[in-house]
Symmetry: C2
Subunit: 408 residues, 2 copies
Amino acid sequence: MTDMDSVEAHRARVLAGIGPVEPAWLGLEAAEGAVLAAAAVATVPLPSFDNSSMDGYAVHASDVAPATDEAPVILPVADEIPAGDTRAVTVAPGTCARIMTGALLPAGADAVAPVEWTDGGTSQASFSQPAPKGNAIRRAGEDVAVGAVLLPEGTRLGPAQIALLAASGHGSVLARAAPRVAVLATGNELSEPGSPLVPGRIWESNSYMLAAAVRQAGGVATRHRAEDDPEVILARIEELSAQADLLITSGGVSMGGEHDVVKAALSGAGAATAEVTFRKVAMQPGMPQGFGLAGPDRTPVLTLPGNPVSALVSFWLFGRPAMDALQGLAPRPLPSVRAALTGRVTSPVGRRSYLRGVLAPDAATVTALTGQGSHQLGALARANALIVVPEDLTAMEAGEVADVLSLP
Amino acid sequence: MTDMDSVEAHRARVLAGIGPVEPAWLGLEAAEGAVLAAAAVATVPLPSFDNSSMDGYAVHASDVAPATDEAPVILPVADEIPAGDTRAVTVAPGTCARIMTGALLPAGADAVAPVEWTDGGTSQASFSQPAPKGNAIRRAGEDVAVGAVLLPEGTRLGPAQIALLAASGHGSVLARAAPRVAVLATGNELSEPGSPLVPGRIWESNSYMLAAAVRQAGGVATRHRAEDDPEVILARIEELSAQADLLITSGGVSMGGEHDVVKAALSGAGAATAEVTFRKVAMQPGMPQGFGLAGPDRTPVLTLPGNPVSALVSFWLFGRPAMDALQGLAPRPLPSVRAALTGRVTSPVGRRSYLRGVLAPDAATVTALTGQGSHQLGALARANALIVVPEDLTAMEAGEVADVLSLP
């Protein structure tokens, strides 16, 4: 099958054609899921001031050193310091100040006695045990020192990373945002779901499916549709290329004839700005594939086959890695396990099959579903895994162990 | 430690207080991530008509039965049927029709000969091998039969499920949408990230962090903040309860005194509509917890501690299950593995520790990070796992195998 590319070769072609998008300063909510384009550095220590880790009393440790249950030390309460209090309080020797968790440690004090070690008094407090020097004090910088790298370049920002940035005072960060992906479904046969149907036409599912898959992968998706006219399709692609970091088309890329409209649009005489390679890839489903750059901005365009199962499997294999690359990350493959087949599976000669299957909860066995046609969405919707049958095999038997990709 | 509830007891309290939200008819894009409130049933077969699975020629199989390389059968091409063509075409015996993938099979034809088996002619075509009856034909209903359950009640809708619904003509579905979660951070000490800071105050991170965690778990989050005033906080909670399926507060729930403003707001005399239980939970971080119902709509409210590490760990343990329950699903626990500790870890007596750690790529070993304080976001931001140290242990040694929760 020398006329086909391997899955790896096509993925390499896609990744070679995609560079990271320009970074932008993003507010903390916009930055969720974004990837840092430069290290975030601590401009202040974290915590930024010495503070109490408990509700209690700020004291001179030496004052309460002799305290016991039998002979408690009694100190006047000279002040009360709630969290958020910005006054410069000083605790004189022989006195104490009531202090709350997170509150600024007053000058003079070198320990906090938790309220549980006292009688909780408000005008005076009785201490029944010593509070060693430094007790219940969070020191400035003990979490992060000034100048330390909070998060290195290339960090994807989840809740904990957003929290660290916020707590360190960063209101915005230089990052590559979630990729904007425009999905364009082509085909004269397509009708809108919910509308009546006549024989010969089908309800359009690819734009909904691929947009959902893009969002599931952390991208921002828009849905579009075009009739089977190469000029219309090319115009639509050029228009969308200005609004998206990645274009994904579905349909119109078979190896047949004049009805391969996406191929015609992107390789015809009118397509001066397009440079797209169309190839057979040695896989099933999803043999006809294409990738290149199109439009004035030379936006990456991934042309997926129109059969819905082919389109979604292709998105998982090529589209998700492309989205990672747009954020400057090494592509994350789908999680892979090895599991024993519960029954015989077959595969066409020379092509790698990605059969829709159900991986058991213990991940020990995997069962291929009935209905493996490229148009058969029923099985796809029940699948949680893809069973990989290598190019050089035409069958695998029950009990054989296969590579299995977990679906997102 | 009889004065504390277990993590399981508190989680059970939360889940007992939460019922599924009312389902609504959602369009296919709004339905992404939603959960079906009723089975979706096929009202038409899928495919809805017999169609060609390849580009080729619709023929009477008997006409091409004698075809060989040496003695090809030649038939006039009487018509051409692209995908989307809705005409009622009939192929007479002794003729053929050019047909594209997905196009309606014409009456009379009982097989499709792929273009690869022919000379690809347009006025007449030469067939060099037989096309058996039924070849390359997708029969109506072979994916899904009329009346079949497309997706059962309780299905979470990802890309493949959305595709199946769309392809079956469902423009909308009865489903429970992604939960709407209002996050309310309390504390007079809080300043907005990006603004200048004075000693005694800290940059607010919890609302950003928890909103990001809610979105990561598939919810819709809004962020809010209130000063440390029980009346203000109660009014805010009652207002937000009308706009959200779940309220999450952070801060103001320690076991101490008058500064526990969330506790005061929800258990004071003014809180006629609130019924919230505040308890110590035998865990670290995150001992002070609360859950109940508040506001005119009796909206579930989860009151998390204010230390950011405590708040996020608590959200993972209690908030994510609550979100599943709002969609009518059995809560999905964080994925758990068993891994060997690379060093000694300690834990307070009687409390279950959730230490921030790094699980190795092979999931065989796990390393506790330096900086396990409840305020130490640095370690949290580097962690990919929580190491669980049971209540009855105060230490585990290097080489011992621990339960480890993978972080989302």
